[in-house]
C-alpha cells in the first residue's frame, strides 16, 4: 500500500478538526492542568498537617479525659462505612424496598419511557434476589456470592449468566436495579470522598454522603453520588440513595429502604428456589441451547419494555 500525502479527504478532515479545535478553551484547560498538578503536593501537605492536627486533637481529647471532661469525638465517615461493611458481612436476611426514578432523557434515547417502579430486594451478605410482580407479570432475578446472575423469567424457565458475561443486557439490567451491599460499601471506601452529615447525638441515625473522587483510573463509575443512613448502634444500612450512572451519564436515582429483617430459605438466593420442578435452565454451559437463551432473553426484554409503555 502506497502512502498518499495529499488525499482530498485529508484537507476536509483537517478543516473539520480545526473547526472543532476552535471551540476548545485552551486557557481553561491549562488552568485545570496546573490546578491538578498543585493538588498532589497539596494533598501530601494536608496529610501531614492532618497528622499534626490529629495528634493535637488526640492530645487535647486525652487531656479532657484525664481531667474528667470527656466529649466523644465523631467517628470518621470512612470508619463508620468500614464498620457497616463488616456488619453486613454477617449472613442475615434483610428486605429493602427499592424505588427507582429514571432520568427521562436517557431512557428516551434508549427508546424506553420514563419509569418509576417499586420492588423488593432481599439481601444476605453480598448475594441478593429481587422479586417483582408489578405490571401483571411475576419474575425474579438475583446474584449469588460468586457473581453469577440468574433470571427466573417464569416459573418454568430460568436464564443464568456467569460473571464473565457482565456485558449481557440482562446482567447490566440486574446491576442497574439492585444493590450488593458489601461490594457497594467497598466501592464507596475506594472511590468516594465520604462526609458525615449527622450531629452524632445519641439515637440519631448516622447520615453519610459520598461524592465520587474524579480519577483517571475510575473512568466509568456506577454511582455519582450516594447518601446513606445507618443505624447508630448496629451500623446496618437503613436507607441508601444512589445516583446511578450509565456510560458517564446520570441514569436515575434508586432509593433502598430497610423494611424488615427476617429469615429466608437458602434456595431463595438461587434460581432453583424460584422455579417449578419441571423447569428449563439456559446457561452458557450448553452451546446447543445458546440460541434459545438469547431468544428467551430478547422475548423477556421485549415483554418488560412493552409493559413499561
Amino acid at each position: 500500500m502506497t502512502e498518499a500525502n495529499d488525499h482530498p479527504l485529508d484537507a476536509v478532515l483537517r478543516n473539520h478538526l480545526d473547526r472543532v479545535a476552535g471551540t476548545v478553551d485552551a486557557v481553561k484547560m491549562l488552568r485545570h492542568i496546573r490546578e491538578s498538578e498543585k493538588a498532589m503536593p497539596r494533598r501530601n501537605w494536608l496529610k501531614w498537617a492532618g497528622v499534626g492536627f490529629g495528634t493535637a486533637v488526640a492530645a487535647s481529647v486525652g487531656g479532657f479525659v484525664f481531667f474528667g471532661n470527656s466529649p466523644t469525638p465523631l467517628a470518621a465517615a470512612e470508619q463508620i462505612v468500614d464498620e457497616a461493611k463488616t456488619a453486613h458481612t454477617v449472613p442475615t436476611d434483610r428486605c429493602y424496598e427499592v424505588v427507582t426514578e429514571w432520568e427521562p432523557l436517557l431512557f428516551r434515547r434508549l427508546q424506553l419511557p420514563a419509569i418509576s417502579r417499586k420492588h423488593k430486594l432481599w439481601t444476605r451478605g453480598d448475594q441478593f434476589w429481587i422479586e417483582t410482580n408489578g405490571d401483571g407479570a411475576k419474575w425474579a432475578m438475583g446474584q449469588e456470592t460468586s457473581g453469577k446472575i440468574w433470571f427466573a423469567i417464569s416459573r418454568k424457565r430460568g436464564l443464568v449468566y456467569e460473571p464473565s458475561e457482565a456485558g449481557e443486557p440482562l446482567a447490566r439490567f440486574c446491576d442497574l436495579v439492585s444493590m450488593r451491599v458489601v461490594s457497594t460499601l467497598s466501592e464507596l471506601l475506594e472511590q468516594f470522598t465520604l462526609y458525615r452529615k449527622d450531629t452524632g447525638k445519641p439515637g440519631e441515625a448516622i447520615r453519610i454522603e459520598a461524592d465520587l473522587r474524579p480519577s483517571f483510573l475510575n473512568r466509568n463509575p456506577r454511582f455519582r453520588r450516594v447518601k446513606l443512613e445507618l443505624d447508630p448502634v448496629t451500623k446496618i444500612v437503613q436507607r441508601a440513595e444512589f445516583q446511578r450512572q450509565l456510560n458517564g451519564e446520570i441514569a436515575g436515582t434508586l432509593t433502598f429502604t430497610l423494611l424488615e429483617t427476617a429469615s429466608q430459605p437458602d434456595e431463595m438466593y438461587t434460581l432453583i428456589g424460584h422455579l417449578d420442578a419441571d423447569h428449563e435452565l439456559f446457561d452458557r454451559k450448553d452451546p446447543a441451547r445458546q440460541d434459545r437463551r438469547t431468544k428467551f432473553r430478547d422475548e423477556f426484554l421485549k415483554r418488560v419494555q412493552m409493559r413499561m409503555k
Binding site: 488525499h7 476536509v12 485552551a26 491549562l30 447490566r172 473512568r219 430478547d298 426484554l301
Partner: protein
C-alpha cells in the same frame, strides 16, 4: 530557569490543546470525557517533563496517550440494551438503539452542512480507523501513526485506506465526487 521551563510548557499546552482535544472528541463523541482524558494525559506527560523534551517531541507522545486512553475507554463499553426488531422477512434482529451517526442538536448548530456530514461519517467508522485517518489528516506519516497507535505500518496503512473508502462513499455527494481516488 525553572520559570522559563514552566512558561515553555504552558505555551506548548496552549498551542497543542485545541487539536489534541478535537482529536479526542472525535474518538469519544463525549466532549466532557474527551477533555478529561486530554487533561489527564497532559498531567501524566508533565510529570515526566524532566525525561521528555515536551515542547519538541511532546505532540506524538500526547497523541499516543490520548489514542490509548480513548480506545481503552471505548472497548470497555458495550451497549446497555439491544432492542429487538422484526425485519420484513419476519426474522428478528437485535439492535443498539443509539443511532451512532446522529449528532446532538447543539453539535449540529456548531457546524455547517459539510462539517456535520464529516462528523456523522466519522462516527460510523471503527475507533481505530477514525484515529488513523485523522492522524493522517494532521500530517503524520504512516510510520508515526503506527508508533502512536502501537500497530504495524502495514496495519496503519490498511486502516487509513479502509477509513478513506468509507468516508468517500459518504462524503462524495458533498464533495462532487472529488473524494473518490
Amino acid at each position: 530557569m525553572k520559570g522559563d521551563r514552566s512558561h515553555e510548557l504552558d505555551a506548548w499546552i496552549l498551542a497543542t490543546a485545541p487539536r489534541a482535544t478535537a482529536y479526542a472528541r472525535s474518538l469519544l463523541r463525549n466532549p466532557h470525557e474527551a477533555e478529561d482524558i486530554v487533561q489527564d494525559c497532559y498531567c501524566r506527560l508533565i510529570s515526566k517533563a524532566d525525561v521528555y523534551d515536551l515542547p519538541h517531541d511532546g505532540m506524538k507522545l500526547l497523541l499516543r496517550a490520548i489514542t490509548n486512553a480513548c480506545i481503552n475507554l471505548k472497548t470497555r463499553r458495550k451497549p446497555f440494551f439491544r432492542l429487538v426488531r422484526t425485519d420484513a422477512d419476519g426474522s428478528e434482529q437485535t439492535d443498539d438503539p443509539l443511532d451512532k451517526t446522529a449528532l446532538p442538536p447543539d453539535e449540529c448548530a456548531m457546524f455547517d452542512e459539510l462539517s456535520v456530514a464529516v462528523e456523522s461519517a466519522l462516527r460510523t467508522l471503527p475507533t481505530q480507523q477514525r484515529a488513523a485517518v485523522q492522524l493522517k489528516a494532521l500530517g503524520h506519516s504512516q510510520q508515526e501513526i503506527a508508533e502512536i497507535m502501537g500497530i504495524t505500518t502495514t496495519n496503519g496503512g490498511v486502516l487509513i485506506h479502509r477509513a478513506r473508502q468509507s468516508l468517500a462513499a459518504r462524503l462524495n455527494p458533498y464533495l462532487g465526487g472529488e473524494a473518490i481516488r
